[in-house]
Amino acid sequence: MMAGETPIPRPLPKAPAYWTAAVRIFDLSVGEMLWSRRTIFMGLVVGATVVISVFLRLLDAIGAPVFRANGVALSGSAVFGSFIWFFYLRFIVPVLGVFYGTSLIADEVEDKTITYLFTRPIRKGAVLVGKFLAYLACTIFVVLPSVVIIYVCLVPVRGSLGASFPDLLKDLGLLTIGLAVYGAVFAFVGARLKRPLLVGLIFVFGWEQAAMLIPGYLRHFTIAYYLQSLVPHAMPAEGLVSLLQSVFVDNPSLGASLFWLTVILLGFLWAAAVSVERKEYVLEQ
């Protein structure tokens, strides 16, 4: 630059739109999230179910009476249905929702890296939405393949892959919806509350379990109530919890379930994004 020459003001780059920003955050977060310690936990839990199913199949192949309950021979599709109920719907999906959802913002606050994200020229809400999408991608790409492996492994035992195929699609769909809804609820909890993990665990293993056993309208304030009505498999009649749920069973219709799950997902995701936009995060020194 020559002396006396006035510098040409460089135009400020335009801030990316909300969704563009969310996609960039997604791109940035997905790798971090996938290779975190949390994913190792998820891998262990999901891997355990796959190992159990392979083990059961091998035992069945050598003639061990493993596909039996109360002396009754069960088909592979019935056992697959039990896996979806016990492992995925009642444990894996809510727990992953709690662990990942509550940490979307809390982790950044804890690591004191949230400042770097919030000083970028993007909406704060887009950060949360991007991280939520990353969570969804991470969990879907780990959970759903495991379901498919279990399906291929178990269903052919006294069953038919073809006949159970529509149920597999329903299972994959409802697990995706479950991960999204639980994730959105706990993203809000994580963005809003101080001890989100504790609150999340109490909600999943305390409130939801208790409300589902009590006759009346309380169960309408759980996610499990709407999610369980989408399950194409019969609820396994094992244990006191299942017994009581069987007595007080009252499933909403498919349309009502999908409607309320969508409302919960969008409502809590919006509330979480608004909460992040408005909240001032004070980093502890």
Partner: protein
């Protein structure tokens, strides 16, 4: 996104696509039941007409040889009826019949109760003795498309009031036909049923050409020695349920019942509903009943209820059961305690049937009000 992340996601997606692809191929592969299903079930299904609403099978030999049967035999030695049957027909039910296939067709036009049952039995039969017995009882020998038929007429069938335009209960006659279909294979049923059975076999338009029914039969586990499949509407219409109850029954399309009888009885009842919602409703009803049943204090009832296991997905509702031999001990106990009551029951029923109907009491004329 790093390369490592992309590789992981690509691998996950590949597993997902491979699994879904396998399911998809299996799903559409199952769309050709004529290739696979026609091989299911006994060969005698070729004698079952294609429009049969219910088909059943029982491996009589296996059931007779079962431990359960042997135990019942030691406890109920007097089988006079069986002996008489053997003396007259030369057929020892214990040894001479291997298996039977039974079928029932739908109601006749206008809901008329035409006798439409058909039983095809495979075994060792003394044709001469059977034919002689039939002739003794006024049977007439006929030939139909190369098959020998023995027709017994004047078999009375009760026609209920209201049916076929009658205002009172009445009796009408029809024919029962015994047909020698093949060496070692006999068919018993109404004349129409036997003739349509022979036609079905000759024209290859038997139940094996009915893909819906053959799919149901193909789903029967090979280990079962007795089973029945069919359309639920056929049963519901025969049950003469009141309209209020019939309208509240879940929309069940087809049913399958199968059992393996040996030391105990294990089996499954399976129903296919019209849609997922009906299946959910049915599951809820059954699950609620099972849950209530399990709350009972009686240990025997609890053991029985615990053996009931509900499963099924989508439109299918399945209820498995297992009645172990220990649980069946309850039956011999009842016999030991009161054999008289049990054995006298059929006689009472017989007497009741033989007794002429009591004419209805004429209505009392109304008393004029004063």
């Amino acid at each position: 996104m790093t390369k490592k992340t992309r590789i992981f996601m690509g691998s996950s997606a590949a597993i997902l696509v491979a699994g879904i692809g396998t399911g998809l191929i299996a799903y559409y592969g199952g769309g050709f039941p004529s290739l696979s299903a026609s091989r299911s079930g006994p060969g005698e299904l070729s004698y079952v007409p294609a429009d049969s609403a219910v088909v059943a099978y029982a491996n009589v030999r296996e059931v007779m040889d079962s431990q359960l049967r042997q135990r019942l035999k030691t406890l109920m030695p007097q089988e006079q009826g069986q002996k008489e049957f053997q003396e007259q027909t030369g057929i020892d039910i214990e040894r001479d019949i291997d298996y039977v296939v039974a079928a029932a067709q739908t109601l006749g036009a206008g809901g008329v109760h035409e006798p439409s049952g058909l039983v095809v039995a495979r075994g060792r039969f003394n044709v001469t003795q059977l034919e002689a017995l039939a002739r003794e009882h006024g049977g007439v020998v006929e030939e139909y498309k190369g098959k020998r038929l023995i027709k017994a007429t004047n078999v009375e069938k009760r026609v209920e009031a209201g049916a076929e335009g009658s205002t009172t209960d009445s009796y009408r006659t029809h024919s029962i036909v015994l047909a020698f279909l093949e060496p070692g294979l006999v068919g018993i049923g109404s004349e129409a049923a036997i003739k349509s059975s022979i036609d079905a076999q000759l024209s290859s338009q038997s139940i094996t050409a009915n893909n819906d029914m053959m799919e149901l039969i193909a789903d029967i586990d090979a280990g079962n020695n007795a089973w029945a499949v069919g359309r639920f509407d056929a049963i519901a219409s025969q049950a003469h349920l009141p309209q209020e109850i019939a309208s509240k029954l879940p929309a069940v399309k087809t049913f399958a019942a199968m059992a393996h009888i040996d030391g105990g009885i294990t089996g499954m009842l399976r129903a296919e509903t019209k849609d997922d919602e009906s299946a959910n409703n049915l599951r809820q009803v059954v699950q609620g009943l099972l849950a209530l049943g399990r709350m009972a204090n009686d240990p025997k009832a609890t053991a029985l209820m615990n053996s009931l296991q509900m499963s099924g997905s989508g439109k299918t509702v399945a209820l498995s059961f297992s009645v172990p031999s220990e649980l069946l001990d309850m039956i011999p106990q009842g016999i030991k305690d009161g054999p008289h009551e049990l054995h006298s029951l059929p006689r009472e029923l017989h007497d009741l049937h033989a007794r002429p109907p009591v004419p209805p009491t004429p209505p009392t004329p109304p008393t004029p009000e004063k």
